[in-house]
Symmetry: C2
Subunit: 440 residues, 2 copies
Amino acid sequence: MDFHTVWHPCTQMKDHESVPPLLIERADGVYLYDRDGNKYLDVISSWWVNLFGHNHPRLNSALKAQLDKVAHVMFAGITHKPAIDLAARLIELSPDNLRKVFFSDNGSTAVEVAVKMSLQYWRQTGHASKRKFAYLKGGYHGETLGALSLCGIDMFRENFNEVLMSNIEVEGPDCYRCPYGLKPETCGAECFESMQKTLADHQDTLAGVIIEPLVQGAAGMKMYPPVYLEKLQSACKVHNVHTIYDEIAVGFGRTGSLFVSAEHELSPTFLCLSKGITSGYLPLAATLTEDEIYSAFYDDFATMKLFVHSHSYSANPLACAVANESLAMLTENDFLEKLQPKIQALKEFGKRLQELNWVGEFRQTGMIAAAELVKDKETKEAFPFEDRVGYRIYQEGLKRGVLMRPLGNVVYFIPPLVISIEEIKTMIDTATDCIRAVLD
Amino acid sequence: MDFHTVWHPCTQMKDHESVPPLLIERADGVYLYDRDGNKYLDVISSWWVNLFGHNHPRLNSALKAQLDKVAHVMFAGITHKPAIDLAARLIELSPDNLRKVFFSDNGSTAVEVAVKMSLQYWRQTGHASKRKFAYLKGGYHGETLGALSLCGIDMFRENFNEVLMSNIEVEGPDCYRCPYGLKPETCGAECFESMQKTLADHQDTLAGVIIEPLVQGAAGMKMYPPVYLEKLQSACKVHNVHTIYDEIAVGFGRTGSLFVSAEHELSPTFLCLSKGITSGYLPLAATLTEDEIYSAFYDDFATMKLFVHSHSYSANPLACAVANESLAMLTENDFLEKLQPKIQALKEFGKRLQELNWVGEFRQTGMIAAAELVKDKETKEAFPFEDRVGYRIYQEGLKRGVLMRPLGNVVYFIPPLVISIEEIKTMIDTATDCIRAVLD
């Protein structure tokens, strides 16, 4: 129906000749409803954004209440309560060293803001040579060209390599195929040696290191233990390099805690947030940082040390109002503690997936889980990308009323946090059926 | 009040020691209300986004109606009526050659999308060497690093020059200080010779030229005649270079027509839209392009020609629903035709500004106007930036209940289109008083 005018993101439009896009008319809780009334369990939270389900009465009310006051005002020279409240709450709930909040619109801009603040900080403190960033292989931090220059996945960057900032890709953790033959539960992040060497070799030119803590989302929900982050923090301190935490996907309860950084008492220089910040309602992002950074920009106007960056809809009041309500819900009534039985259920049901011939690894961090499909469990040989195993499983899922969107050969689950244990079972059972339908 | 946690965009935060940000609690029509009940005429449409005033009943209703269906769903593999309708309307109302709409979140991303599509198009059609862009001195196209590499204003880019894509800055029109001694009304865009030479010299490496048609916003609402755009279009065709029109600020009625490109029967390869698209309610952007571009990406998946770019909130249904209602209002009941008396009134009142000793030029394109302040009308000598003439006028405006935000020495007006003639008079009278209070 919309083939004629709409070009969808990250989509080969020709695929829609055989599989048209779902036309979603309404949504409620963890379900999407198409125009024919079919319903789909949204196990990927509409691109990892939804926390409390669709059409939530409290979030809807918060949005409508703000709408009756003001939808939007410029955020330079002007402020408003929804932004003030949100900033204060984020500061309270994130690591103690983070004291300032800069708002923008999406994950890419949150990362661009961190990168630009870091660069300008070093320039303004006498270290202008520090202007490269290190990022992990498999890392993903957005797709505007600045953010894309921090991307460790070829598919996203290969058409643009010639114009991207020259940064440094570093071998990161690869726990399923650990080259050191270790187990994540007991390892000491021996794989940190690549990063250690990078930091030592390039400290004069390195401004920062960017990382997705614990879960590399777009790489296929690759997971690694917090000891890697501890080592990173110590090493970055030694070598005078900023740490940029991209908690855009993992923040706001996905891992079972509000923020990975806060849970593990880590102190990133920058913390980038988006996606779940509005529980999947509206675009909004925040980059949090330290007073040390802020102070380097705080001076008389004539010094021109200010941070010249803006988006017209920065700190959109509607989005901030929804974010405030969502944060209230996340922090009230032991909401996160009450996720524990769901996290346990996901672990239990996941064992069934792990038993399948084609599931090399079932891995989980809190409410995020993934089954990595392989041709051979012994050798861990991957399916070739042309087989489009994930895409075929996606189609099987639609037939069965479950919306998955595998990343290559990885079937992953990042459901709204309000999914029930019964629905978690349905999600895993259906994934099992789909994998078998395609591969058995 | 919010000094402690919020870092505002494009703001030297130290300025707030003496002038705290306005705390806006509500807004209605063309007025903002602070917590003490003071009201401010919003003559810059909250950073050039608002068209129909704040808290408009039709826009509020459209948003609420969509909210009761679904706030947001993923836009890959899924579609929805608000996006389909919006894309169809944009295609219908924009130049005929534009046939496809790619949604994103803000002006920067709309530009990044155009840039990335252009680069990948050339790669996929055997012209991989075409990977630079030309932009005008004074041009502004956003502040993510890709968009910033197309920026012709030092203040925005000087801290980041070393990491920006290597593009080509071109001398553009400078009508107030025309080096050819011509008048915009009668000139033949003799100043196009710089661009002509750039295109001829660099055609093998040039992917595209980006331009703000008719009004260079951030440069200080610098205006130039359409003949420049006609020449650009012909020359780009000859040299096989894409044209990227950034109508983010000028689109949706600001110039008196819906789009500059459509009004002047121009055929840009890409058209970037944002800001006014939701009449100042929510972040949303669109990049329109031709079937020629789209076709170069349309192939079997295995060829990997797809455009790999996404933002989680692409085509947010709430934002699309508001955009649809706003577009309906713009195109109903001769709305744009009925702007003509306002445009005339602005012209008339503007003459008073032009008479001031300090106003070198009063210029206007439709509902956008600007007074450029100079030390000397004869020599057109500018005030030094340290004098902060604009900032002082801004403060005078606040005292008088008018929210201006001059760009350097340029006091500009880009009010909501629903401003009344009486309010236009107030706007210009107050600006006159403020300029005199600061400079007389």
